[in-house]
Subunit: 303 residues, 2 copies
């Protein structure tokens, strides 16, 4: 690899991205502000956790930045890459989850991250990962199509095959086998990305990070004034239960973070403020709730 | 092993135990009744799931019986027992979780189960497992001591070392490393039990199963009329979030059941009807909520 891997530029981008996202979400919320917690990790590094609660648009929003390092890559990171075991590493990223108040406004998650593994006398190994996915409680084809059009536009400069490839990966990753459902209408997911060289991979990460707002805010604005009542609230809490199930049962970032001694409160900011379970609940045939399950929670070409 | 393993007697006990537990919980509830769902498993066997919701004492109570069999032990069951890989098996058990309405009445979980693995020309391999554990939102030394005294009495006929051994195992099993907390005040947990021969092991299982009611009902009766308000409800929902975290992140039964294609709604009956997460919440120093964390959610000799 002839290019130099420039971690400080990536880190600066991530910090700036966190600032821009928080500023935009505060503006969109109209009421609540982010609280910031700075934390340090014993083994090296730390983070800035930012959480907003009780807003007008967001019941809870978390936008976390972290940059940690250590002497030896954790086992979970080298399971697929045994040649990297024992290397020192840096891991940096921004991760966000939005739990809106109005059940017609979808949940959104996005993440951009980089991992670098070094050893004296060997090339630096690095890869980018991330993505963004949308989880509506009430499905609108218009929203899913707009979300995916925005995702495709972010991928387009990097090749026509990029969107379909990372869209499919997203459908496969955010899947709950015990429910036979996708988490939501998907978006993008990628990992192990280094095939384009540093400059182009970093540009791709910026393109994804920068497109979070253009993808989400128009949808949130379109739905935030939709009237809702007890029925919609009840279904929203029920669907949030599925979100909890995915994150605790399957999400590799959550499980890895907790098992490797990450900051619990920052990792679990992804969990909803309130969630509900109801034994063997089934939606009324033909209802909007049933339409979500039947038409939105399976892999589908939205464009 | 000279004794014959008599699965039909164990199965009959388990069915009867489910009946007795449900009848007692309905009597104690004063209002709601169990709904029963019979289900069959494609690979062999099935179960009787019984759920009560919206009661006076119980916001949700689940008492499940299942007996499944198959041609080859699932991988999770043979990880510790490679010599049993590929054997045909039977697995039967009763599992229950009670989520009370009143925050002063503790959550309770209990389970008794048996696994049998057979192969032509080889001895039958079998083992019992189970236990019972109590998870208060508000801690009372009197309740924890009574709960453990009942557990010790159930173990006593089987040796003086049985209660301390299975009490310790319970503390270790129901532990949330990412929170540095036990799930509750513990009780008993055991697995792989066959060292006493069939008759004695089965008698021990009956002793545990039969002591669920004598352990729980007096505590529930003592606390059910305690007045509570928004503060207690809020803390109850928060503590239920921890229950969700344990069951989805760590509980082997839950994870194994879901991953091996068990009946999702029966397995996840253990989840609370409503749960809450609040970023970096801390109890007031000196409050009852802080006392729970400081004095009740760590391994402790209650007797």
């Amino acid at each position: 690899m002839s290019e130099v891997f420039d971690l400080s530029s990536v880190d600066a981008y991530l910090r700036d991205l966190q600032d821009r996202l928080c500023a935009a979400f505060e503006r969109a919320d109209h009421r609540a502000r982010f609280r910031e917690d700075l934390w340090e990790r014993e083994g090296g590094g730390g983070g800035r956790s930012r959480i907003l609660t009780g807003g007008e648009l967001f019941e809870k929003a978390g936008v976390n930045y972290s940059h940690v390092w250590g002497d030896a890559l954790p086992a979970a990171a080298t399971a697929q890459r045994p040649q990297l075991a024992g290397r020192s590493y840096h891991a940096a990223g921004v991760s966000l989850v939005l739990h809106p108040q109005n059940p017609y406004v979808p949940i959104m998650h996005a993440n951009v991250r980089v991992l670098v593994a070094e050893r004296a006398g060997a090339d630096v190994a690095w890869w980018f990962g991330g993505g963004m996915d949308l989880t509506p409680c009430y499905g609108f084809v218009e929203d899913a199509a707009a979300w995916h059009a925005n995702a495709r536009a972010a991928c387009e400069p990097f090749g026509a095959d990029v969107y379909p490839r990372f869209k499919k990966w997203c459908d496969e990753y955010f899947f709950l086998p015990h429910r036979g459902e996708t988490r939501g209408v998907g978006g993008l997911f990628f990992d192990d990305l280094n095939e384009w060289g540093f400059e182009r991979c970093f540009a791709f990460q910026r393109s994804i990070g920068d497109s979070v707002l253009t993808g989400y805010l128009p949808i949130a604005e379109r739905r935030r004034a939709t009237p809702w009542g007890e029925r919609e609230r009840s279904f929203q809490l029920y669907r949030r239960g599925r979100y909890v199930e995915f994150n605790l049962l399957y999400d590799r970032g959550t499980r890895f973070g907790l098992q490797s001694g990450g900051r619990t409160e920052s990792i679990l900011m992804s969990l909803p403020p309130l969630a509900r379970w109801e034994y063997d609940w089934l939606p009324e045939p033909g209802s909007a709730e049933e339409t979500l399950l039947r038409e939105f929670l399976r892999p589908r070409d939205w464009l």
